[in-house]
């Protein structure tokens, strides 16, 4: 992990120095993770793909403005977050307001029968869909991307306490919605 961070920093510095190949390597390294993050936030493959491209375009353009090259992953996901939520705002202007409670507490109808991988994936997807966009994003950044609370706060541009409450609420809900498949 430390080795990887050093590599990211080196690649960022090299890309800043004009080495095109260094940025291409950063793209290769992060494109899948960024794409999957955006896919689960916006839930549309084409949109996720376009937003991933835009994220890397902006990252390339603003790379000289990145203060600490070692924090490239957080910075990249911050750009991806902005791209995703800008799209949300374009499509649903009410996103700035507190999102209404959605399907909180609804049990996923899988209980009893054995759970196959596809079935499990669908259940998890539906469980994630039941979260508010901010809660879902916090779960994605924590569980799938392995960011710390503080880093998520930087990406979501909110206090650490807000990240904690989003994650706690999300997990309390997921515990219930995923109970049928977790036994």
């Amino acid at each position: 992990m430390i080795f990887r961070e050093v590599e990211n920093r080196d690649l960022v510095l090299a890309a800043r120095g004009g080495e095109v190949d260094a940025f291409n390597r950063l793209v290769s390294r992060w494109e899948k993770r960024v794409y999957n993050y955006l896919l689960r936030v916006v839930r549309d493959r084409e949109d996720a793909l376009d937003l991933t491209q835009d994220t890397f375009l902006k990252a390339y353009r603003y790379l000289p403005k990145l203060d600490d090259p070692g924090r490239f992953p957080q910075w990249l996901f911050r750009i991806a977050h902005n791209e995703a939520f800008s799209q949300f705002r374009r499509e649903r202007p009410e996103i700035d307001e507190e999102p209404a409670e959605q399907t909180a507490g609804h049990a996923v109808p899988v209980g009893g029968s054995p759970v196959y991988p596809v079935e499990l994936s669908l259940t998890v997807e539906r469980a994630l869909d039941g979260l508010t966009p901010e809660q879902r994003e916090a779960v994605l950044l924590k569980v799938y991307q392995g960011f710390k609370f503080e880093e998520i706060a930087q990406i979501q541009l909110c206090p650490v306490s807000t990240v904690k409450s989003r994650l706690y609420a999300a997990f309390d809900q997921l515990k219930i919605t995923l109970a049928p498949v977790t036994g």
Binding site: V20, F23, N24, V27, E31, K32, R33, Y35, N36, L39, R40, R45, L49, T52, Q53, F56, L57, Y60, P117, L120, S121, T123, V124, E125, L128, V139, K142, V143, Y144, K148, F149, L167, Y168, F171, L174, K175, L178, A179, V181, T182, G183
Partner: protein, 154 residues
Amino acid sequence: MNCAPFDLRDYALEELTADQRRQVEAHLEYCAACRREVERLGLTRHALLRLPEEEIPRRIAFVSDKVFEPAWYARWLHALPRLGFGLALLVVVFLAGAWSQRRSEARVLQAIQAVEARHDVQMRDVDQSYRLIIQQMNEFYRREAEVRPASYRQ
């Protein structure tokens, strides 16, 4: 709610320090309710991680690809400082050239004036010499006329 020394969600989400983790684990040794809660959180996390990552349908463009090329206005915008510098350099070169030309013209003019001044002095000397010669000739003719016989004068 739980009776553990730290929030069990922080424990499950790996946000506790090594010492805090040890304290929670010591508590879990004798608290069955917290143990069940940690297990539920672990299973939830495990279920979430079963969601497979998708491959990207097509690769993201690299910097060398056309999509990374800036728009024409962006290219102009980025080129502005360089254009400005080039223009300033041209102005400096032009001004330096003009200044240098004016200096050499002045030097040539100075040289011409010096030659003319020398020429004037020389001409003045020649003029004086002529006048002296004419004066001497006039004197010579006057004296000759005085000594010449009267018949000859007629």
